[in-house]
């Protein structure tokens, strides 16, 4: 019965069809009907899943199938989709506070956890508990305590006629920065009314601290408030959206100025600002986060491996591997060509001293830190074959081919995996004749219940078996030679492509429309901070055409996203 249910399920869901599947927030997503429903006597909901799962109101993120984007009607008109009001992410909050108070480091303040859309932190859910709200209140309090020692320099009262005048200026300047727009007269009056009694009782410093608390707990600070003007963002709102989308913080002085004098609303003025923001190290930093969140590299620096199995894998190596990926991504989005193909399949990387031996890559004679190192002949190419990815998606004692494959499948190709059906036995331990991971995972291929998904996912992970759990190259697994070759089946495009090894595979992936469309969807989520809806296929198809024309230039894609008229439309209208 169970096997039957599970086969029905795979037939109904298919594996990899992204279309019309609502992804639960974050990892482990996907929904599988499993049980017999006593109320109907039918097997789960398997008949309904393929077509009946409508977009839910508060988590409407659903990847669109590649075909829908690739084959969209060239004349289609993008429909603007209005996602709900969003809260600042933890990082945006911290960056904003750091910039507002000119702190030297990011304040490590406890805030409500971010929600996820796909692999990215974006807050569209309603705050659900008193605890979360009180965290914002305590954060405001903690930050005002942090600001206390330097409040004189934050206030800048020199040259002011009186404390009252100074406080008034503070409300106007600090307020405009925190709320990303000039305050209305009514707001100024109200903020002053809150602070003046404190000024009288406890002095100007205390009054300023109370104001900081009030500003930082204001909905106008915590949420991306966009009221707009005739359905389009106002100059200040556009500046704020650009600042958060490209830098994850409040607008800098130049951006605020372009909003104040209205230049940001002209085509040239907007382009100039976008180019400036994208050319900045803060954008490169944000791009690094994109790569890191997208591929799950955020924790690489603190990965620990079993000491007995991997004596060479030290904390220093873990940090060096993280630095490699981070330097590599910074190069691609900074000085490099910005191309997806480079990110996924470049034949060079950036190593620090200890990694030459670790990777067994010869050190060029004139090498110094920061120069590109050729990977030709090393079996590696692109970010998926770097130690950061390989160690992050492995167990402490052994590789995790399904985990590795699943990240590529879900995050790089935007295909979805239903969870394994219930009632399956654990994989067999090593036994005579079953030594390598490939041999152990053959169980998947043999079982009709598993094969549906695993025949697509497993080859992606098994291709990387030449890299052990610590990211080191190996030829053998348990005394037997590793076979890394396989077939890449991309269900949407419908083509099977054979590959020899990991380096070969990543090249095939990089040039596939699936990966290109997926990169667009991921970048759109990350930059526009919006969930993807089925309706978005038209808009995404426009990006796709231009992305292809640019030779998959990710920076051009980002610029395309923020310059498109849809980006300037109001979000959050009823």
């Amino acid at each position: 019965m169970r096997i039957l249910v599970c086969m029905t399920l795979i037939a109904a869901l298919g594996c990899g069809k992204a279309e019309k599947r609502v992804s639960l927030k974050g990892p482990g997503s996907g929904a599988s009907p499993q049980t017999e429903d006593p109320s109907t006597g039918k097997s789960g909901d398997s008949g309904k899943v393929g077509d009946g799962k409508s977009e839910s109101p508060s988590t409407p993120d659903a990847l669109v199938s590649s075909n829908a984007i690739i084959n969209a009607d060239a004349k289609c008109v993008p429909e603007v989709v209005q996602p709900p009001l969003q809260r600042l992410t933890v990082l945006q909050y911290r960056n904003a506070v750091q910039d507002l108070l000119a702190l030297t480091t990011k304040p490590q303040i406890i805030l409500p956890s971010d929600d996820l859309i796909g692999p990215f932190a974006i807050n569209t859910l309603t705050l659900s508990s008193q605890v979360s709200v009180s965290q914002y209140e305590s954060a405001g309090e903690a930050i005002s305590a942090l600001a206390k020692p330097q409040i004189t320099s934050i206030l800048k009262c020199e040259g002011q006629a009186s404390n009252d005048a100074c406080l008034k200026t503070f409300v106007e300047t600090f307020g405009a920065k925190a709320l990303r727009r000039p305050l209305s007269d009514e707001e100024k009056t109200r903020y002053l009314a809150l602070a003046t009694p404190v000024l009288t009782k406890s002095g100007i410093n205390e009054a300023a601290l109370v104001l900081i608390r009030a500003f930082l707990t204001s909905p106008n600070f915590l949420y991306h408030i966009e009221i707009g003007d005739a359905g389009v963002l106002t100059a200040y709102e556009l500046a704020a959206r650009l600042a958060f989308s490209l830098w994850d913080t409040v607008p800098d002085a130049e951006l605020s100025k372009a909003a104040a004098d209205g230049k940001i609303l002209t085509e040239d003025g907007l382009k100039a600002q976008v180019n400036r923001l994208i050319a900045s190290p803060r954008f490169v930093e944000k791009s690094g986060r994109f790569v890191s969140d997208w591929l799950g590299l955020g924790k690489t620096a603190s990965v620990v491996k079993d000491k007995e199995s991997f004596p060479l894998f030290t904390p220093a190596i873990a940090q060096a591997l993280r630095k490699e990926s981070s330097d590599f991504a910074s190069h691609v989005f900074g000085k490099g060509d910005g191309k997806l193909s480079s990110l996924l399949a470049a034949d060079y990387t950036f190593l620090s001293e200890p990694l030459f031996a670790y990777y067994n890559v010869p050190k060029p004679a004139n090498w110094k830190e920061g120069t590109a190192v050729s990977l030709k002949g090393s079996g590696r190419a692109g970010i998926l074959t770097q130690g950061a990815f390989l160690t992050s998606h492995s167990h402490p004692t052994s590789t995790a081919p399904v985990s590795r494959g699943k990240v590529v499948f879900e995050n790089v190709l935007c295909l979805s995996v239903p969870p394994p059906p219930p009632g399956l036995p654990a994989l067999p331990e090593s036994s005579p004749g079953v030594v390598t991971a490939r041999q152990r995972f053959e169980v998947h291929e043999k079982s009709p219940a598993c094969a549906g998904c695993h025949k697509v996912i497993d080859p992606l992970g098994l291709a990387m078996e030449n890299f052990d759990a610590s990211g080191v190259w190996r030829e053998m697994d348990g005394g037997e030679p590793i076979i890394a070759g396989g077939t890449l089946s991309l269900p949407e495009v419908g083509k099977d492509t054979k590959f020899q090894d990991a380096a070969d595979m990543v090249g095939t992936i990089a040039s596939s429309p699936d990966a290109q469309v997926c990169a667009i969807m991921q970048a759109y989520r990350f930059i526009a901070e919006r969930p993807i809806l089925n309706k978005d296929s038209c808009l995404l198809s426009k990006y796709y055409k231009r992305f292809q024309a640019s030779g998959t230039d990710m920076r051009a894609l980002v610029s395309d996203i923020v310059l498109s008229p849809e980006f300037r439309k109001l979000r959050g209208t009823p």
């Binding site: 639960l24 927030k25 974050g26 990892p27 482990g28 929904a31 599988s32 499993q34 049980t35 017999e36 429903d37 006593p38 109320s39 909901d45 109101p57 508060s58 988590t59 709900p84 009001l85 406890i110 409500p112 956890s113 971010d114 929600d115 859910l125 309603t126 705050l127 659900s128 508990s129 979360s132 709200v133 009180s134 209140e137 405001g140 309090e141 109370v210 608390r213 009030a214 909905p219 949420y223 408030i225 009221i227 924790k299 603190s302 990965v303 620990v304 992050s392 167990h395 402490p396 004692t397 995790a400 969870p419 394994p420 219930p422 009632g423 654990a426 331990e429 959050g572 209208t573 009823p574």
Partner: protein, 462 residues
């Protein structure tokens, strides 16, 4: 309780059919006198990843049974617990861990969820309206070593048990920082005979209130300018601000001889947010935090017991990690445990021997909580006498993630729960158990969760 024991269903039927006009006692006659008081306090105790059912299952009959190796630590509180064997959670559907976690306390299906989590409120939140009326906290959700592995310290279907009692029930993230909890629950508590707090803290309180009040008005002003959907988001935020304001002004609990501030334990080696740094497969290890798990767990349980003694709340959840529990268990190292829980479930192949050791430890923690509640005397009763505890997990057998034969345990005598027994059910749905729990608290509904999965309560619990 004497010999007479009213079947709760008789009570419900009686109340329903003869309308409300007749006083209860007249319908039931003498028997009603024997009706036990409704339970007053409810605690969920969650442990991750099911169990090893063969080592969990007791041997013997309802009243004469011997614990298996996993539940051995309950021997000391045997007369206060009820083993509930053979329940199913067929309502569970969706991702294999999420589905069980959603079904456990809501009886709903993750697949039906509108918010990506649960399609209905969890039992504790509904009970909170009844049990925590006038108390400082509606409920206290605590989790130790929360959001490991793939959830990276963030709220996710893998790690949330509690859902608001609302039309669109939002997940409620647990409190995870033991020091924060101590401060917010007991920080302002003034034990009897110790005056009314110092002037400085009351001045701070006034300032907090005026800022909150101010912020409150900013939200109202802004809401008028936004669309309906956005208004709803801000309104939810505002409601929580108002609750916060209210909790600042309400009393600090009914201080009595049984109500004392729990000792503030030093947990400086424990980082409650270490989940934020977790790796997908448990490869990122935070030894000092993991070593502190037993200490912090005990501290949290002590705070739950004291929050209940002080009448600061009537509902609590004690959550051990999350469904995957990808943290180390260094205190079990001497017993050969050197990997995380999920490793023994299937990451490293199914290993029942190691799992039994871990679940035996969880049982000892449940025994600790049950015993601690029994040590708080309320007149001729104990806190445990008025409480009901429900210990559950999101699945039964970790290797195949099945939701049949759930390892459930109840404890406490609230609502007349007759403990000291081993109850065997043969594939009854957990929605029925949830209905029974409601009934113990005087909520007489006979259906809960997804329709079609339960009618009526379990027989024989009281």
């Amino acid at each position: 309780m004497g010999n007479f024991r009213i079947d709760r269903r008789t009570v419900i039927r009686g109340a329903g059919s003869i309308a409300i006009a007749l006083p209860f006692m007249e319908i039931m006659g003498e028997k009603a006198l024997a009706a036990p008081d409704a339970a007053k306090r409810y605690i969920t105790f969650y442990t991750p990843g099911g169990t090893v059912i063969d080592d969990w299952r007791p041997k013997g009959t309802e009243t004469n049974f011997q614990f298996g190796s996993i539940l051995q630590p309950l021997e000391a509180v045997k007369s206060k617990v009820m083993i509930v064997d053979g329940m199913n959670m067929k309502v569970a559907s969706g991702e294999q861990h999420i589905r069980g976690l959603v079904a456990l306390l809501t009886g709903t299906r993750a697949d039906d969820a509108k918010n990506g989590f649960s399609a209905g409120p969890s039992i504790d939140q509904i009970l909170a309206k009844r049990l925590s009326q006038g108390k400082k906290f509606k409920s206290l959700e605590m989790a130790v070593r929360w959001a490991t592995g793939k959830t990276h310290g963030k709220i996710h279907g893998f790690n949330v048990l509690n859902f608001e009692d609302a039309a669109d029930p939002k997940p409620i993230p647990p409190r995870i920082d033991p020091q924060d909890i101590w401060q917010s629950v007991f920080g302002t508590l003034v034990p009897p005979g110790e005056g009314t707090g110092d002037a400085a803290s009351s001045q701070l309180l006034m300032r907090d209130k005026s800022i909150l009040d101010y912020v409150d008005r900013r939200y109202v002003t802004l809401m008028k300018k936004l669309g309906a959907a956005d208004q709803k988001i801000l309104e939810a935020h505002l409601t929580k601000i108002r609750e916060l304001e209210k909790s600042l002004s309400t009393g600090v609990g009914d201080a009595s001889t049984t109500c004392k501030k729990p000792t503030r334990v030093d947990t400086s080696k424990y980082n409650p947010r270490t989940g934020l740094n977790s790796g997908d497969n448990g490869e990122v290890v935070d030894s000092s935090t993991d070593e502190s798990i037993p200490l912090v767990g005990k501290f949290m349980m002590d705070m739950i017991v004291m929050a209940m003694s002080c009448d600061l709340t009537g509902v609590a959840t004690m959550q051990w990690s999350d469904t995957e529990a990808k943290h180390q268990l260094p205190w079990l190292k001497s017993k050969g445990i050197n990997q995380h829980l999920h490793y023994y479930e299937h990451d490293g192949g199914y290993r029942p021997k190691e799992l039994a050791i871990i679940h035996n430890w969880y049982a000892s923690q449940f025994a600790y909580l049950v015993n601690a509640l029994s040590e708080v005397k309320l007149g001729d009763k104990t806190l445990l006498d008025e409480s009901v505890l429900f210990w559950g997990s999101e699945l039964s057998h970790p290797a195949d993630h099945s939701n049949t034969d759930m390892p459930f345990v109840l404890a406490g005598n609230g609502g007349g729960l007759r403990t000291g027994r081993y109850m065997k059910f043969n594939g009854v749905e957990n929605n029925k158990l949830l209905v029974s729990l409601f009934n113990l608290f005087g909520d007489t509904r006979n259906e809960f969760g997804k329709p079609g999965f339960s009618t009526g309560a379990l027989n024989g619990l009281t």
